[in-house]
């Protein structure tokens, strides 16, 4: 026992060093921006391998996903239309960018500027703006959604949330 324990201790320390050295040679890759999307189409989001450029979350659910394509084909991904609006503000291609959102009703990628938005959806970042292809009562258009988002008039504000949900 007297010799065994020190030997075991040294072996375990060596094992840790070995594991660390071997691991240091590995790499991890995460998609934040996809280049070359000249056609400005909505790209497939591989769940768990793409992260939202604005809030940095890994996109594991694409129900409320959004994409912004710059004129040069660079494509950014978002898990929440609100994130896309926040990120887009101030970008040089803010007006020219092609924006896509996932429609909650038809589950298709649609033009964000033509979509209709609910105010109270359970979106990942709690902004509440879920896109729809078909207009219904209470839905707002893109421009109104953009303004509300930038002014902070969304479900992430507890007072707005209270008012919208009628609590």
């Amino acid at each position: 026992m007297k010799k065994f324990l020190p030997l075991l201790t040294i072996l375990l320390i060596a094992a840790i060093v070995a594991i660390v050295f071997i691991s240091l040679s590995k790499k991890e890759k995460m998609i934040t921006i996809q280049k070359g999307n000249i056609q400005k189409l909505p790209l497939k989001i591989e769940k768990g391998h793409v992260n939202d450029t604005e809030c940095k979350m890994i996109i594991t659910d694409t129900t409320y996903a959004a994409e912004a394509v710059a004129p040069n084909g660079d494509t950014w991904f978002f898990d929440d239309p609100g994130c896309m609006i926040k990120w887009l503000k101030g970008k040089p291609f803010e007006k020219e960018a092609k924006l896509w959102v996932k429609a909650v009703d038809t589950k298709k990628w649609i033009d964000a500027k033509k979509a209709w938005y609910s105010l109270t959806d359970p979106t990942p970042m709690h902004y509440g703006f879920g896109a729809r292809e078909v207009k219904k009562d209470g839905y707002i258009n893109f421009e109104e959604m953009r303004l509300k988002m930038l002014r902070g008039e969304n479900m992430s504000d507890p007072r707005i949330r209270k008012r919208l949900l009628g609590l």
Partner: protein
């Protein structure tokens, strides 16, 4: 500044202020005592110092114990104000709300360990008849107080710079793969777990063999890798969600406040693991009970973490 309207923040800052004030009084008294102290003297001044020192030590003991409790309350406070901050779903988002949060938390944890060391020093000193560690513990307290002052400043700086308008990152963003806190050293979950369990076994072996310096180093590594393991693996079994990686959410009611127990046992295990080395440097003292406590608390921590995984597997038949 809206954050100051929160009851928890008010209670926390008020308590911190009172404790700091009392600590300041003890600090000033300690400076005087440590300058004049000469135990072998039988002069009226020395007898007065001995009488006063008993009071001062009692005050310090009380304030430091309250500081330990206030750390838990700090965590509870930042968790409870997460509803006020956009984007934050737990304390993780709140602590990263400004540049003061993480340094403040690290300082509080460091102070937790230093406080523990002082309490052990004081206990040993008071058990002896001739105050053998008196000056050492006073100097140690003076050093701790300087850190307490930094902490006090950071408390106010942190809370006064929390904005209820700016969005913060939630825990998935912070602790997810693409966040700043991905698994270090390019480890994957399996290798991380291997290191976690190996380090645990090492803390046990080194405690049995009583190597204070090596145990000190391994304990600190264990703290780091245990934290990473809880965030990236064990926590997901507590939340029963593979993408939920957060060291703070488990402090909430939904998870039975298990986080307090989990982190508490880890901190205790690491504390006892590092304390023998620090005591050896300060006062050439080693206590075998501290080795025993290291084993006990680290084992409870590891068993608790492992149980969550095993119970999930037994109930569901699959791993996450």
């Amino acid at each position: 500044m809206d954050i100051f309207l929160s009851n928890q923040v008010q209670i926390f800052l008020f308590s911190e202020s009172i404790i700091y004030l009392i600590s300041l009084i003890a600090f000033i008294a300690s400076i005087v005592i440590v300058k004049e102290w000469n135990f072998n003297s039988t002069s009226p001044k020395q007898y007065k110092l001995e009488k006063r020192s008993f009071l001062i030590m009692t005050i310090i003991v009380l304030t430091l114990w309250i500081k330990i409790a206030l750390l838990a309350y700090f965590v509870y406070t930042i968790d409870s104000i997460s509803v006020l901050i956009p984007g934050a779903m737990c304390a993780a988002g709140v602590i990263s709300a400004n540049q003061y949060g993480n340094p403040l938390l690290f300082l509080k944890i460091a102070l937790l360990f230093l406080t523990g060391i002082w309490l052990i020093l004081n206990s040993l000193d008071q058990k002896a008849e001739d105050y053998p560690y008196f000056k050492t513990k006073l100097w140690f307290y003076i050093a701790v107080f300087l850190l307490l002052s930094a902490e006090f400043y950071l408390d106010f700086a942190y809370f006064s710079h929390i904005s209820t308008d700016d969005t913060v990152q939630c825990c998935s963003a912070i602790f997810g793969l693409s966040g700043d806190n991905h698994i270090p050293l390019n480890l994957n979950v399996l290798t991380l777990l291997a290191i976690f369990y190996i380090l645990y076994i090492l803390t046990v072996l080194l405690s049995i063999q009583r190597y204070p310096f090596t145990l000190f180093v391994i304990s600190l590594l264990f703290l780091y890798f245990a934290y990473q393991s809880v965030v990236h693996f064990f926590g997901t079994y507590i939340y029963e969600l593979p993408s939920h990686k957060c060291p703070f959410c488990m402090l909430q009611k939904e998870y039975g406040f298990v986080g307090y127990f989990l982190w508490g046992t880890l901190f205790l295990g690491v504390f006892f693991g590092i304390s023998n080395f620090i005591l050896k440097i300060l006062i050439s003292y080693e206590d075998k009970r501290l080795y025993r406590f290291t084993i006990i608390f680290n084992t409870i921590f590891v068993i608790l973490c492992t149980l969550y995984v095993l119970i999930y597997y037994i109930r569901n038949g699959v791993w996450l």
